[in-house]
């Protein structure tokens, strides 16, 4: 152990490696309900070459490696299930390039969402990236690799669909480039090459460590507005979403169903955010949205909330601080949610099931959905806040999460950024040949099984 520690020190320098109990404690857990798993070492590389050396060392000694961004995924994916080395990517946070013409940015994978957002605001105010609602320290790498979604997902889809290319260190230590950057100096696209990005997306860090990421940027329009459509019939929500998203006007569409504040309880509030270059465009977009749902307005069963301009800001904030406030509503800092990727038409079932589970388990909850693309799919979330210092509260949340994962699968959805038990649930339902193929790919890439072991595996 001491020898490995010394070797890690040689790679990254004294300051950036630890085997001390304080750090091991801190890196053993995230903000969710999963049990702690202690790493032996924590290391913070500063370059791709350092990552490569760490991986080569781990391979040689068959030590497990768990890549980590900000550990905000909350489902325990960056806990080292089998101990070993946690590779904390936060030092690799350089913004390497912003291309104004082809609208992309190349960043190191540990760059935080907040840093890129602030950088663009300052240096490229006409551009923005799709910001998730996670706290701003979440990393671009961590978010993209888990198929994240955010404030431009109605426009651009999952964040993986906004990925132009990446650089990664394979579990055997080779450095690879994926996408146009493997051929050209420009990181402009994954097409037209065989798309190898899929080897790293959704794998929970089991296939390699991404070191550089290129993502699409979008125009940051001078005028921004929000319309909130309020209704109280969950069965009609899929149709309303289909209509609103079909206008292709929105940058972001989210449905929020929350029991607090009391006035919001029982209603579905569909927030549609859009940008415009001019007042005329803004009014046109507003009118298109209204036209799309006029049937509901005419029947008086739904309508857009009148909002003062001062009220709009907090609904358009990216990331939404309201969500972070909800996350700590019980105090004690416990928060976890099931995000399930689902087709829009199962919304009513998902909504009712969520309420039923939350009420049965007596947990503090909020539910909602982010619409991906023009209503092509949604990330339906069931968020549970709990007091980490209260074991009964934690258990209640854990039970609700398990039941919710199972319910999502039964409805026809798939838990996103699934924790280990939910991964097992997915595997049980998965076409066996698909799972076998996953295994073969992993075996080829990672013959020693060092990358985030314990994830996407059948329990032995």
């Amino acid at each position: 152990m001491e020898k490995i520690y010394q070797e890690l020190k040689k790679i990254v320098g004294d300051q950036y490696v630890s085997n001390q109990p304080e750090e091991r404690f801190f890196y053993s857990r995230d903000g969710g309900t999963t049990e702690p798993c202690f790493p032996d070492f924590i290391v913070m590389p500063g370059s791709t070459e350092e990552v490569q050396k760490i991986v080569l060392l781990a391979n040689e000694r068959k030590i497990p490696i768990t890549p980590m961004g900000a550990a905000l995924v909350l489902s325990g994916l960056s806990r080292p299930l089998r101990g070993g080395i946690v590779v904390d990517m936060k030092r690799m946070d350089r913004i390497l390039e912003v291309n104004e013409f082809s609208r992309f940015a190349v960043v190191e994978a540990g760059t935080s969402e907040g840093k890129l957002q602030a950088y663009l605001k300052k240096h490229h105010p006409s551009l923005k990236h799709s910001v998730p609602d996670a706290p701003p320290m979440a990393t671009i790498g961590g978010n993209i690799l888990i198929h994240g979604s955010g404030h431009l997902s109605a426009l651009g889809g999952f964040h993986t669909e906004m990925l132009n290319g990446l650089e990664a260190v394979l579990p055997t230590g080779e450095i690879v480039r994926i996408g146009s950057c493997s051929v050209s100096p420009y990181w402009f696209s994954r097409a037209p090459l065989p798309d190898l990005a899929g080897l790293f997306l959704g794998w929970a860090g089991t296939t390699g460590i991404a070191t550089k990421i290129a993502i699409k940027l979008y125009p940051d329009r001078p005028l921004n507005d929000i319309d909130i459509f309020v209704m109280e019939d969950a069965d009609s929500v899929p149709d309303v979403i289909r209509r609103l998203s079909g206008t292709a006007v929105a940058e972001d569409i989210t449905a929020i169903m929350t029991p607090v504040p009391e006035w919001a309880s029982g209603f579905q509030m569909i927030n549609v955010i859009y940008g415009a270059e001019s007042k005329r465009e803004q009014v046109l977009k507003r009118d298109l949205l209204r036209e799309s749902v006029k049937k509901y307005i005419k029947d008086k069963v739904g309508g857009f909330m009148p909002l003062y301009s001062d009220m709009k800001g907090r609904f358009m904030e990216a990331p939404a601080s309201q969500l972070v406030r909800f996350a700590d509503v019980k105090k004690g800092g416990g928060f976890e949610y099931v995000g399930a990727i689902m087709p829009i038409e199962v919304f009513p079932d998902a909504y009712r099931k969520g309420l039923e589970i939350a009420e049965r388990n007596g947990v503090t909850y909020s539910t909602g959905a982010r619409i991906i693309g023009l209503g092509h799919t949604m990330m339906f979330f069931y968020a549970y806040a709990f007091n980490r210092a209260d074991p009964i509260d934690v258990k209640k949340a854990q039970k609700a999460l398990e039941e919710t994962n199972e319910a999502a699968l039964t409805i026809g959805g798939i838990p996103w950024k699934a924790e280990v038990p939910a991964q097992q649930g997915i595997i049980r339902r998965m076409d066996p040949n698909t799972f076998k193929l996953m295994g073969r790919i992993r075996q080829t890439l990672d013959p020693n099984g060092i990358m985030n072991p314990g994830n996407w595996e059948v329990p032995s």
């Binding site: 309020v230 006035w263 307005i297 008086k300 069963v301 309508g303």
Partner: protein
Amino acid sequence: MTMLKYDPEICEKCETVDCLVRCQYMQFDLTQAKEEKLKLLAGESSRVLEGCATCYACEEYCPNNNHPFYLIVDRQEELSTWPVPIPLVKQQVKMMSPKGKITPGKVNTPLINLCFFPMLTGCIRGRLFDGTSLIEGSDIFCNIMWLHFAKNSVIRERLPKIIDTIQNNYLAENGINEFVCFHDECYGAYTHLAPAFGIDVPFKTVHLFEYLTKRLTVLKKEITPIRATVAYQRPCSNRLIPETQHWVDEIFNLVGVDRVEREYDRENALCCGTVLRAMQKDDIADDLQKRNLDDMQKVGAAYCVFNCPACFFTMKDMVTERGITPILMSELCQLALGQ
């Protein structure tokens, strides 16, 4: 349920039907107006119920004080002709409900009732409000806004309780019998709507304008005239209490501003647009806001003065975009006092 103090005979005999003929949002000639009026009297559906912008103006236009607007709202509710989509109404009814957070305490006169505008407590400051005390919150919200939502039933249910709360938790305990209404709506609710709905009001109310006029008169020596042209955005609730309008001119004289004559002022004032947006009639709201702003700009207004916080929050940005400074009436007075 308290009945509306309303005499159908007066309307039947009415020769002018000003309530409909003068409407700014629907077109009627006299014959059509009479026909529609008769339908309303008979409790039947009428295009008035769908087309009403709920601007309250017909309460002012009626030469007989016969409450044509309150009748329209009663009929809308009876016939379920909801001007605003139902989920929005239900949500608002929940949102604005009394929260039971009454903290009775020592208050003194002059007592300012800020209604349910917690964001405006900062307005009650300085020499203008020296020695005043303040009450505010959902439990003293006057509830007149339900006139816009075809929900007179909510007014009938909540207003007597609100009156009781004010009387028993703030006034009686402190031996006070009057307060100043910061908002036109409260003054309208207690002096005009409550009597029309047969709801007893045991206290006296003073309109903010009267209070400001008296205070400015006392502080006259401290006033530095503003010397600017202003446009006044008259709120819907002031239609219930036109007798308070003269105070506006007096205040403007005292602070040294010129209320320029413009098309959409006084009895021809236009709605700020919020209610029309709640009714999902954005096209109408866009049109009237544009006409109103064009009019303010045409007369060279430097300030747009509001007394209604809802009008202020709705219009302040669009007014600013036209190069006009939005300001609340009390803040205009503060400006003249150098505060």
